[in-house]
């Protein structure tokens, strides 16, 4: 049996959603680890782009920043933000983007800005960064979150980045370039979006969790399909590669 941590499961699971040949906005952290893992396994031809300006990057170890020089060596172009977020992303050329969030609602809308009321926020979070741009314009969006009930809310404290907004027709109203979120991956389960309502739906539960565990850990009415499979476990190779990419355990922690 393969031994893995929650974080390793989350990253390995997310990596399976990247398809070979895609143009991928990797960012940093777990999403980047997932993208790099995909590139080293089933999707060697993905074109990894950092919004700071790196195109077709092949970092040997995981960068800590979207602007990290570790993105540079071996990349095929090194430019700037107008290129990546403007020409490429807004131009409709990015297949898949990754985002995390502090809060998500049942349409996949995201908050990365504030906890508490806007007028007197309890916690200032990082903000949109390129998140709103990626959520608006990437063809598909993969959302990665550690699972915490308080994050799956009925109403966001602040609406930073668009998921499916208020459901069918919403993205079209604003002429959004991209298709919106496709999947939400946590350390407990995978969720997708029901096509008719564009509301979040349980897709699979990770080994060791039940459907009820998930229901208990979201604050909105989660759509539960009749058949909820168990998410496949990561392979030993995936875990080995992840640790090679993050040798200092910045994202994965110190060893397993």
């Amino acid at each position: 049996m393969v031994k893995y941590t929650k974080i390793e499961f989350l990253a390995a699971c997310a990596s399976t959603h990247v398809r070979d040949g895609e143009n991928v906005f990797g960012g940093t952290g777990l999403p980047l680890l997932a993208a790099l893992l995909a590139k080293e396994t089933h999707a060697p031809n993905i074109n990894l782009i950092s919004e700071a300006g790196f195109i077709d990057a092949r970092p040997g170890e995981v960068p800590l920043s979207v602007a990290d020089s570790r993105y540079y060596y071996g990349c095929s172009a090194s430019i700037g933000l107008i290129e990546t977020l403007g020409f490429l992303l807004q131009g409709g050329r990015i297949d898949v983007g990754f985002l995390g969030a502090a809060q998500i609602d049942e349409y996949g809308n995201l908050n990365t800005s504030y906890i508490g009321p806007f007028e007197s926020p309890k916690v200032k979070l990082p903000g949109s960064g390129g998140g709103n741009d990626i959520a608006s314009s990437a063809k598909r969006l993969i959302i990665m979150m550690t699972h915490d009930k308080r994050k799956f809310v009925k109403k966001l404290d602040y609406f930073t980045s668009p998921g499916h907004l208020k459901g069918p027709g919403s993205r079209k109203k604003w002429n959004m370039v991209g298709g919106g979120p496709e999947v939400v991956i946590t350390d407990m389960c995978q969720m997708d979006f029901e096509p008719e309502t564009q509301k979040i739906r349980l897709m699979s539960v990770h080994p060791g969790y039940s459907v009820q565990d998930i229901i208990d850990n979201v604050m909105f009415d989660l759509i539960i399909p009749d058949d909820v499979p168990t998410t496949p476990e990561p392979t030993e190779e995936q875990i080995r590669i992840m640790h090679r990419l993050d040798p200092h355990g910045v994202y994965l922690g110190k060893g397993d």
Partner: protein, 315 residues
């Protein structure tokens, strides 16, 4: 023939503009309280940390900072009370966690953040550089970035019907701040600047400010600029002042010059969790030293030298 022309002009030009080179202290002194600044660098790369620290030493107040996303530099300016307004898309210490100083100052009401996205800010700088009043973008719409504002009110942005297509489009107001502060790898004495690695939003940002101060790791001769004119990312005619200093971005990185100092960065981040910890850092590394070289001495040159970039990696 060409060489005769060049020789003559070279001498005159150098003489005329040599005084663009000033000290960090002099540069920071030029920024009056209440000024607005474009702030260069992106993420861990080419962050003008030394300038933020000097602003803190000179007790500057009520600055407004415009940038896409920055990290330690914004934390210093928020923490030390230098800046009270930020028009930004992002602040955190990537990979490590939240920006605690910013979090506390926002909770205290001492800092106001007007929220945009990275593309929105980059386009605001592009619009400012082009000297047009706004730029259109396709993101932001449908979210609270459109619906909520701290202090710009209805000047924050506008969603309009496109006069050509009828579709909804978002207009963000262009920015022409009082100063642009940009950190680069190399500059000649005229101010012609070369940047290695990614540019982030510094092409647009360097052109949008009313005055441009360039901080460079290294001074190069004008001949090197003129031998490779397609490497010039910021022509001298935009540049008002030049500051030459090594390790301007420490503990962040400068491509081809030095890597980030992860140990220092983690120490900074850990201390900034509390006001006490932050004050300790502020006293030790910023207010308690005379200048940037004092800071570098404190960090230690053995450590600084160990951070130097290896070819061809650039870090």
């Amino acid at each position: 023939m060409a060489s005769i022309i060049m020789l003559k002009v070279c001498q005159l030009t150098e003489a005329e503009v040599m005084d663009k080179i000033i000290t960090l202290k002099e540069a920071a002194k030029m920024v009056p309280d209440g000024s607005s600044l474009f702030w260069g660098g992106f993420g861990y790369q080419r962050a003008p940390i030394a300038f933020a620290a000097e602003l803190a030493r000179q007790k500057k107040r009520n600055l407004t900072i415009h940038t896409c996303g920055s990290e330690v530099d914004l934390e210093i300016m928020a923490g030390a009370g230098v800046a009270s307004r930020f028009e930004i898309a992002f602040v955190a210490i990537e990979a490590l966690g939240l920006a605690y100083n910013m979090r506390r100052r926002v909770a205290e009401g001492k800092v106001q953040v007007e929220d945009y996205s990275n593309l929105a800010m980059a386009m605001r700088f592009l619009g400012g550089a082009l000297n047009v009043p706004f730029m259109p973008i396709r993101s932001l719409m449908g979210t609270d970035i459109v619906n909520k504002s701290r202090y710009l009110g209805d000047k924050k942005l506008k969603v309009i019907d496109c006069p050509f297509t009828g579709e909804k489009i978002c207009l963000v107001p262009s920015l022409q701040p009082d100063f642009s502060i940009v950190h680069v790898q190399r500059v000649d004495s005229n101010g012609n600047a070369q940047i290695d690695g990614i540019i982030g939003e510094d092409i647009e940002g360097s052109r949008c400010g009313k005055k441009l101060i360039v901080l460079a790791e290294e001074l190069i001769h004008e001949d090197e600029i003129r031998f490779r004119p397609d490497q010039t990312k910021i022509p001298a005619m935009y540049v008002d002042h030049v500051v030459i200093l090594p390790f301007t971005a420490h503990p962040m990185q400068c491509h081809n010059y030095y890597d980030y100092d992860l140990e220092h960065l983690m120490m900074f981040h850990k201390l900034s969790r509390t006001e006490e910890g932050w004050n300790e850092y502020l006293e030790n590394y910023i207010l308690g030293v005379d200048d940037h070289y004092g800071y570098l001495d404190k960090v230690g040159w053995d450590r600084l030298m160990s951070l130097r970039a290896k070819k061809p990696l650039g870090y």
